[in-house]
Amino acid sequence: MALKGNLRDFSTTQLLNLINLARKTGTLTIQDEDAQPNATACMSFKEGKLIYAHTGDESNNLAKILETTGKLTAEQARVIQTKAKGTNNKQLGYLLIQAGLVTQQDITQSVRHYILEVVYKLFTWTEGLFRFDANELPADHQITISIDLESVIMEGSRRLKEWEILQEELPDLDVALKFTDRPDARLQNINLTVEEWRVVSFVNPRNTIKQIAKANNLSDFEIRRIVYGMLQAGLVEFSRSVKTAVSPSQATAPTTKPQDTRQPIEQQPPAVKRSIVVRLIDRIRGI
């Protein structure tokens, strides 16, 4: 008989605690009916240790995972996904190592990162049907690892608290950012991480926070954390002019396929108009 219930009554933290203490083996499936498609997540455990997790979409493809962690470029990942269609993750892993594109360690680390991101995200779900199927494990061709649940539960709880704060501070990701206009902004000695600089380079009243996240393969949590930090530092502020700039194709972004997610973002501004350059010249001459 499978364990069944709703996250309303029994939180992810409690479920993982149970699995850990009872050293259970099997797969936990959680489904959020209210959310958009893709709101299904599966986590597999072997004797109380987390060995695998994935969400309902295609994001568990190894090429995609390696792209997210920066081990493959977007172009490499795209080519591999097309050429190696139908190849399972384990086979693909061998091929990539043999081709010298990545190392065994790259794969393990990336898969670990992917699995943990899936699980940490689940901590933020407050609703959803769950079911634990004892002894059901991922297919043999999936790459599995082994992670102690204690550390996962601790980190997940920490993120949950942070998540709640961030959610409150930054409820809407469909707004755009701009660099701050306040001349008194205290901008000295800001230390930005690589990830933050990536975000900074996309800050533009035409790009919503959501689009920036997609372009950089960041989760809602990660982008919220970065943007919140930049808002706090006074580096950026919300831009109100975004509505007019979002084209109909951008507005339908959630239904586009994963491969298309990079397109809506404005990376290359439209060819610069002559008048803009003339204005810049006038301004700099006057300094």
Binding site: V272, R279, I284, I287
Partner: protein, 184 residues
């Protein structure tokens, strides 16, 4: 509101931070200090030395100046930075011939990212042992069509001149493209 961007690049210590600081209306965000003490490998929390300055034109136009990180291991940031730039300035410390080769390499890398115009700033011209711009042209084997401008990064007029020359080149490119479109 439109934001446009220019990139200021060049080897370590060429004068990028100084250049942006001279013209920017906000204090330059620079993370240099941290970088020198950080480990060799890029870890998640490693910070990248990069400068960021701003010139507001009017209510709906603003120019951002991005200085690139100098260290080689941050080369991947260049690609990110060069996206959508209007043009770029390659700064060279004219007193340090040992960095000229590196400057050329940086120039070529940026050229490969974007076909936007660029100029070269032969910086530190106030120093006695600075190479003259035209000597730099010869040693770097740069075409006569490429502007090599004398520069003193702490001097406002000098920095203005470099940015203006770059803008003139951008204007020229726009005019050429328009002329071409009309003949097509």
């Amino acid at each position: 509101m439109q934001a446009v961007k220019m990139v200021i690049t060049g080897p370590f210590s060429a004068g990028k931070t100084r250049f942006i600081g001279t013209i920017s209306e906000i204090d330059v965000v620079s993370t240099e200090r941290r970088i020198t003490t950080s480990a060799e490998q890029i870890k998640d929390n490693t910070t990248v030395a990069m400068d960021f300055g701003r010139i507001t034109v009017d209510d709906d136009l603003v120019l951002y100046l991005f200085g690139t990180p100098g260290q080689r291991r941050f080369d991947f940031m260049w690609d990110i930075l060069s996206q959508g730039m209007l043009g770029f300035v390659v700064m060279i410390d004219s007193t340090k011939p040992e960095t000229f080769r590196e400057a050329k390499r940086i120039l070529e890398t940026f050229e490969s990212y974007a076909s936007t115009p660029y100029v070269i700033a032969a910086n530190k011209q106030d120093m006695e042992d600075a190479w003259e711009p035209e000597d730099l042209r010869i040693i770097l084997r740069l075409d006569s069509s490429i502007k090599i401008l004398p520069c003193i990064a702490g001097n406002k007029e000098s920095v203005k001149n470099v940015l203006l020359e770059l803008l003139y080149s951008i204007l020229e490119q726009i005019d050429q493209q328009e002329a071409q479109n009309q003949t097509d």
